[in-house]
């Protein structure tokens, strides 16, 4: 064996290492591939050896080859071997290789789970770090599920290096295993306030990433982020938070109002451009969200626009780019403020940098008005001609169409101009956007009736010159416009000047080379044209013309009948037969025109793009139901219907560079002139074309000539858009003149000089009337269209799975899987558990209220059923045995049914956001991290501060929400309680109506709005009890069971510095007992203390939490502990210590768990609970106070209360159920209790007794 190792290391000396490999590759430039393949063979040999060093070296080389594009997945197993080496050097090589080439389908990943787990818990922080880094690249759903719990533990690691990595990787875990989000979220939230800035930054990073996709679930974190924003100095963190706020404000305009001021301050104060830019961005987002609600924030807008102008004018191209980018966001809501910078933006259009030009183009969209549209488009057309690359040119093309067609062609005053622009655009070679131009042509021709005559004429010319467009056939996306041209000519053929000529053009043999779907349109529209021609010719006495047309059809159509395209073939043969039949009739002198044109009668109206989707599903139609037996899998390879505008495969056209000499050019020019002169349409359609030429006296011919040089595709006979610009200007001038005249007349009539101001001012938008009476036909929508528009989300988005309500309390089933063989967690709760979970108002917010209602109905139905069953059962049971508690609870449950059913619709959302509401409405800006507890209290619970207002008719017997100083992780628990409370409130209100007439006999005087106060408000309560105190420091603590883990309790300790000195290096230590142990980080001994993660300046208090592991929870426990700390004055520092005794009561193992009465009844029925009871004498307090105290101090919840009798429920962290029935009569309180663990019950009852003996 030893020999082998020696041999291995000797071999190794002769192996190539990475550097040798790289050098070798560089030396074999000619036969690189061959050299590498020999290297790979060597590597394969090396991998076969036992020596791990050799293997690692080989894997290292493979990683390099992977970068060069070689597939190395065959070595996956060897990579795993190297990963599991005990040496860090090799481990790192292995993990790097894995992170470069492993992915979800790598099957050996399954083998790594245990190795990774081992590395994660390695005492060496860099082993852990390397494993986390690697895992972040190749985590799979399986790995995420299996390791989630381990990583979560690492989030509380002592080393910040590990903590920050663990926090960051959680995002990947969430993506792969969404179920882990809710259990891990409280801890993630904690990390937002981690003392280490790196960890904090990581947590911010992860939450921002989560919130970006599903912002509404993170609104409740806004106060916390706000605090971070005002306190953090790390620009990275600030940028992330500010970006996050940008995502949150659209959901909550009030948040925006709160943000404006601090953001504006930052804008003024910061020197970091990156931060300034993000601030401006978020202020813009805020302004957008406010734009409807708040009348003006013009100062803020001005500030933003100003700052952006500075950016755009900056010589740094990066700032210029970003300035334009942000400007486009303002444009959407405040176009006016951007429009004033038109000059600057138009200037950017000429920038040499394409990125900047593209941004400027985006902005143009909002710059146009009726007045300047033509001018801007003209400028863009010049750019189109100049543009060298097709991408930028295509971008220009789409922008031109975008700005012209925006908001229903709002800015177009002259559609002739627009059509000619579109026609000009068809000269673009190799564009991918032929279909875009085509659809615009169709849209305009269909929707603007007045333009049809003109459009048809243009399209006819296009068809006539189709050979120019389709020069290099098929590769050219532009031939799509022929689709539109053919259709328009066919559909509106009544406007055609010379239909026979067009028909002839449509049936040329060359058409057969067009794409199939275009040919199909040609054939169909030829038929339409044919019908029109027949109709025109029918009146003539000479029938030969009509017969000639038929003959032409018959001659030409067979070409299409042979088409390989089914659609073309089918249409052609149908029409051919039809024409043949018509010809027969014609020969018999039968008048057919009427009947033929009837084939194409009727107007086609435009249909709104989403109309189809919005047709409401008729009642009783289930679209998901199978009509027939579902077909087998193989059949489902469906033929997808081909869209009419099929996307052409991106075919790159060969640039057409035809060298033309001067002579040839001159000849062509001459020919064109001739052609134009001969074209009657040309002159007719543009009577002022002469004028255009005159205005450019130096040039012999129209301005098109220059363009022709580069693009030899001038379609002769087509008018240029420029003419229309001139025409339009003239028209406008005329109009203005006329108006002036009128005004003058008016003035004369009125004899007042006031009119002067009008005509001297610039032409305003409204003054420009469109050239035609533009009748834009609106798009049709089906009747009863549903207004929903939110169907654009991609169903495959992995983030959809992370749309999880985080405020909902954790259920048992949601715990992260833990690998250990511990006696399976909490014993599964009885059957009601599931039901209770359903019944609690926990449905995620996203469900529509309608769904909720439906569900409620179902539940009510269920409940009714169960009620009836229960009644039956009850009778039976009463005969059998007398079970006081069970019976009573049952009765309570049954009685409550009526009320519950009436009020079963809680307003679940309001309670959820109430924290946030409060913060948004009046909470002061928390400026410091100190007093976190009190702030939290204020945030969480407005009730005690406004007892008269809110408690007036709320149920004050539910004071759980006063247990506010509770640790933050249990915040959601509170919310649930609040929800419950709200339900109760409603109930209570009902009760008020029934009872308040006779309940005010007690003489309480507080009358509110006509309602009589029934029960006095509760005194504030706190569960924090004094732990220890000396002259320096005071410790108060609260003990709570851990929702997550059945064997953990969390002790929250608030340390308050009472002295004038600085307290630091606090260490918290506890002497463990057999049953209870303080959880210490891995690697520390059983007697080591825990460092408190903060220092305390004088007068400041802060809270730390410590986790204890407990085994048995049936008995109370006491643990001795010590806090050591250093008191630091200006001149001296002393060591001090403070002893304390931690008291784990049985109560602290209980967790407030709501329970529904029917579930509660079933539980009692089940019969495996032991009962016990206790009597309290001389309790002199209202019943609701009594209940509140039990709820608050002992973590119970009220299941049902009827007069002076109430049932209550709680659950231990290990899943024991504790049920109470509390009755009172004249200062005596009797509590009957049931629990599956008698010792625990006894202790809890003792503790309750003690609580009441103290007061």
């Amino acid at each position: 064996m030893a020999l082998k190792i020696v041999k291995g290391s000797i071999d190794r000396m002769f192996d190539k290492n990475l550097q040798d490999l790289v050098r070798g590759i560089r030396n074999h430039k000619e036969d690189e591939a061959k050299y590498i393949s020999t290297c790979i063979d060597e590597i394969k040999q090396e991998l076969k050896q036992d020596n791990i060093a050799v293997k690692a070296n080989a894997v290292c080389k493979l990683t390099y080859l992977q970068m060069l594009g070689y597939d190395v997945s065959w070595a996956a197993f060897n990579i795993v071997e190297v990963m599991s080496s005990s040496k860090f050097t090799y481990k790192r090589i292995g993990y790097l290789a894995a992170s470069q080439c492993f992915h979800e389908n790598t099957d050996v990943i399954m083998l790594t789970t245990n190795q990774i787990r081992k590395d994660l818990s390695s005492p060496n922080q860099y082993d852990t770090g390397v494993a986390l880094t690697g895992l972040s690249c190749f985590v799979t759903p399986d790995l995420a599920r299996d390791l989630a719990n381990d990583i979560m533990t690492l989030m509380s690691h002592t080393k910040p290096y590990i903590r920050k990595k663990a926090v960051l990787i959680m995002y990947k875990v969430f993506l792969k295993y969404p179920e882990s989000l809710r259990p891990a979220f409280p801890r993630l939230k904690e990390k937002l306030e981690d003392p280490d800035p790196g960890v904090q930054s990581a947590a911010v990073n992860v939450i921002c990433e989560l919130a970006r996709r599903n912002p509404k679930n993170y609104l409740s974190l806004a106060p916390l982020f706000f605090k971070l924003m005002t306190s953090s100095t790390n620009n990275w963190v600030l940028i992330k938070i500010i970006k996050l706020f940008g995502a949150l404000t659209p959901l909550e305009p009030r948040l925006g109002k709160k943000l404006i001021e601090p953001l504006t301050n930052l804008i003024h104060s910061t020197s970091a451009m990156s931060l300034l830019y993000e601030c401006v961005n978020t202020v813009i987002a805020v302004l957008i969200s406010l734009s409807s609600g708040m009348p003006n924030h013009s100062a803020s807008i001005q500030l933003c626009v100003q700052k952006l102008r500075i950016l755009i004018e900056d010589s740094d191209q990066n700032l210029k780019y970003l300035g334009l980018l942000a400007m486009s966001k303002i444009l959407k809501t405040h176009p006016k403020s951007v429009q004033s910078h038109k000059d600057l933006i138009l200037q950017c259009l000429d920038d040499k940098d394409e990125s900047i030009r593209l941004r400027a183009l985006d902005l143009l969209y909002g710059m146009v008005s009726k007045k300047n549209l033509m001018e801007i488009v003209k400028k863009l057309m010049i750019h189109v001609d100049k543009a060298e690359g097709t991408t930028y040119r295509d971008e220009l093309l789409t922008k031109i169409i975008d700005i012209c067609s925006q908001s229903n062609y709002q800015y177009i005053t002259n559609f002739e101009w627009y059509i000619s622009i579109l026609v000009e655009l068809t000269r673009l070679e190799g564009t991918r956007h032929g279909h875009l131009i085509a659809s615009q042509m169709l849209d305009v021709a269909i929707r603007v009736k007045a333009i049809r005559v003109f459009a048809v004429a243009q399209m006819a010319t296009l068809l006539d010159n189709a050979h120019l467009l389709t020069g290099n056939m098929q590769r050219n996306g532009i031939c799509e416009v022929l689709y539109a041209a053919a259709w328009i000519c066919g559909e509106f053929s009544e406007h055609l000047e010379n239909p026979v000529q067009t028909l002839e053009a449509m049936l040329r043999p060359k058409v057969a080379t067009l794409p199939g779907h275009i040919q199909a349109v040609y054939v169909q529209n030829a038929a339409k044209l044919f019908a029109t021609i027949l109709k025109n010719q029918e009146g003539n006495t000479d029938s030969t013309a009509a017969q000639e047309t038929s003959q032409m059809m018959i001659d030409r159509l067979p070409l299409f009948v042979q088409s390989a395209n089914l659609e073309v073939q089918e249409r052609a043969s149908c029409i051919l037969q039809l024409v043949k039949y018509i010809q027969k009739l014609q020969q018999k002198d039968v008048e057919v025109a009427e009947e033929v044109s009837a084939l194409f009668a009727g107007e086609l109206n435009p249909v709104a793009p989403k109309a189809q989707k919005k047709v409401p599903v008729p009642e009783g139609l289930d679209l998901d139901a199978w009509i027939n037996e579902p077909p087998s899998e193989s059949e489902s390879e469906d033929e997808q219907p081909k869209a009419i505008f099929t996307k052409e495969e991106p075919k790159h056209s060969r640039p057409r560079h035809t060298e033309v000499d001067e002579k040839e050019l001159a000849r062509r020019r001459e020919a064109r002139k001739q052609e134009q002169a001969n074209n009657p349409f040309y002159i007719k359609a543009s009577p002022s074309s002469q004028k255009v030429y005159q205005e450019a006296p130096g040039v012999e011919h129209i301005p098109v000539v220059q363009i022709d040089l580069s693009v030899p595709l001038k379609v002769p006979g087509l008018p240029m858009s420029d003419q229309y610009v001139k025409l339009e200007e003239e028209r406008r001038q005329k109009e203005r003149a006329e108006k002036k005249k009128k005004e003058k007349k008016k003035r004369k009539e009125k004899r007042s000089g006031r009119g002067k101001k009008h005509d001297s001012g610039p032409e305003s938008e409204e003054d420009i009337t469109p050239a035609h009476v533009v009748d834009i036909v609106t798009e049709e929508m089906p009747e009863n269209a549903l207004p929903s528009d939110d169907d654009d989300k991609d169903p495959n988005d992995p983030h959809k799975a992370l749309d999880i309500d985080l405020d909902k309390p954790l259920a048992d089933s949601e715990k992260l899987p833990v690998r250990s063989h511990r006696a399976a967690g909490a014993p599964k709760s009885p059957a009601e558990d599931g039901e209770a979970e359903n019944a609690t108002p926990q449905e995620p917010k996203k469900k529509s209220s309608k769904e909720k209602r439906d569900k409620k109905k179902d539940k009510e139905r269920d409940r009714k059923r169960s009620k009836e069953e229960k009644k039956k059962k009850k009778h039976k049971r009463e005969e059998k045995e007398e079970d006081l508690l069970g019976g009573q609870a049952e009765e309570a449950a049954v009685q409550s049914e009526e009320t519950k059913e009436v009020e079963a619709q809680p307003s679940s959302t309001s309670a959820e956001v109430s924290d946030l509401d409060f913060w948004l409405s009046n909470a002061p800006v928390p400026s410091n991290t100190q007093e976190a507890a009190t702030v939290a209290a204020a945030e969480a619970d407005p009730a005690p501060e406004a007892p008269a207002g809110t408690a007036a008719d709320s149920e004050p017997e539910e004071p759980k929400d006063t247990e506010t100083e509770e640790s933050k992780s249990s915040k959601h628990k509170k919310k649930k309680q609040k929800k419950e409370k709200e339900e109760k409130e409603k109930k209570k209100k009902k009760k008020h109506h029934h009872h308040h007439h006779h309940s005010d006999g007690g003489g309480e005087e507080s009358v509110q709005n006509g309602t009589v106060e029934e029960e006095e408000p509760l005194p504030p309560m706190s569960n924090y009890c004094l732990l220890a105190e000396n002259s320096y420091i005071k410790m108060v603590c609260d003990i709570q069971g851990n929702l997550q883990d059945g064997s953990q309790v969390v002790v929250s300790v608030i340390f308050e510095n009472k002295s004038d000195s600085f307290l630091k290096s606090m260490e918290f230590n506890v002497l463990d007992s057999l049953n209870s142990k303080l959880q210490r980080p891995e690697g520390s001994g059983p007697h080591d203390g825990l460092t408190v993660p903060f220092q305390l300046p004088p007068g400041v208090s802060n809270e730390a939490r410590f986790v204890f592991t407990v085994q048995s929870i049936v008995m109370p426990q006491k643990l001795k502990g010590t806090l050591t700390f250093i008191v630091k004055n200006e001149d001296s520092s002393t060591h001090e210590k403070l002893d304390f005794k931690l008291h784990f009561t049985c109560t602290s193992y209980l967790i407030t768990t709501p329970c529904y009465s029917d579930a509660f009844a079933k539980l009692l029925e089940s019969g495996d609970l032991k009962s016990s009871s206790v009597r309290l004498e001389g309790v002199n307090m209202p019943f609701h106070h009594l209940l509140a105290r039990i709820c608050f101090h002992h973590h119970f919840s009220v299941v049902e209360r009827i007069n002076s009798c109430a049932s209550m429920y709680s659950r231990s962290i290990q899943g024991h159920h504790v049920c109470l029935l509390v009755k009172t009569s004249a200062q005596t309180v009797s509590i009957d209790a049931k629990c599956d663990e008698p010792t625990l019950l006894g202790n809890v009852l003792d503790e309750i007794k003690q609580t009441f003996s103290q007061c």
Partner: protein
């Protein structure tokens, strides 16, 4: 999120590629080629942002790059990253390399791509920015190198 980090030289030879989303080797090479094609034809004094790489693109993504002597450093990021922030990060990355290699040049990257990976791993993890403080990054990298050395001696 950062989708990919690429370093290549003026001729488009990859010096480091780190994809935070899986692609097969061919696609990776294609992306590198295309990115090089996009980036290399840009002038020196234009902005450092670029939209519309076809492969890695999608409208939410941007290429943010810097050009140092013979090398291009390209980050492909989505809209949750701050553009200027990433530019700073590239600067930090290069400065860190400079510190670790002592006057870094292309040859260092050619022969020690594994070390570059290790440095990058301390800055960016799984596509998210882990650390931006250069000193912290160098401390961690040095500590790990020290460990490696001690293992060699053993």
């Amino acid at each position: 999120m950062i989708k990919a980090i690429l370093i290549f030289n003026n001729h488009g030879k990859p010096r480091l590629s780190k994809f935070y989303e899986h692609y097969n080797e061919d696609t990776e090479q294609q992306i590198i080629r295309e990115t090089f094609h996009l980036v290399s034809k840009r002038d020196e004094n234009v902005c450092n942002f670029l939209e519309g790489g076809m492969l890695i693109g999608g409208s939410d993504y941007k290429l943010i790059y810097r050009h140092y002597a013979t090398l291009y450093f390209v980050f492909c990021v989505d809209s949750s990253e701050s553009e200027l922030g990433i530019l700073d990060l590239i600067q930090v990355f290069v400065e860190t390399l400079d510190k670790c290699f002592e006057n870094v040049c292309e040859l260092d990257l050619i022969f020690h791509v594994d070390k570059v990976h290790n440095i990058l791993a301390e800055m960016v993890m799984g596509g998210m920015v882990l650390e931006t403080n250069m000193n912290e990054i160098i401390t961690q990298v040095d500590a790990q190198n020290k460990m490696e050395k001690s293992e060699v001696i053993l």
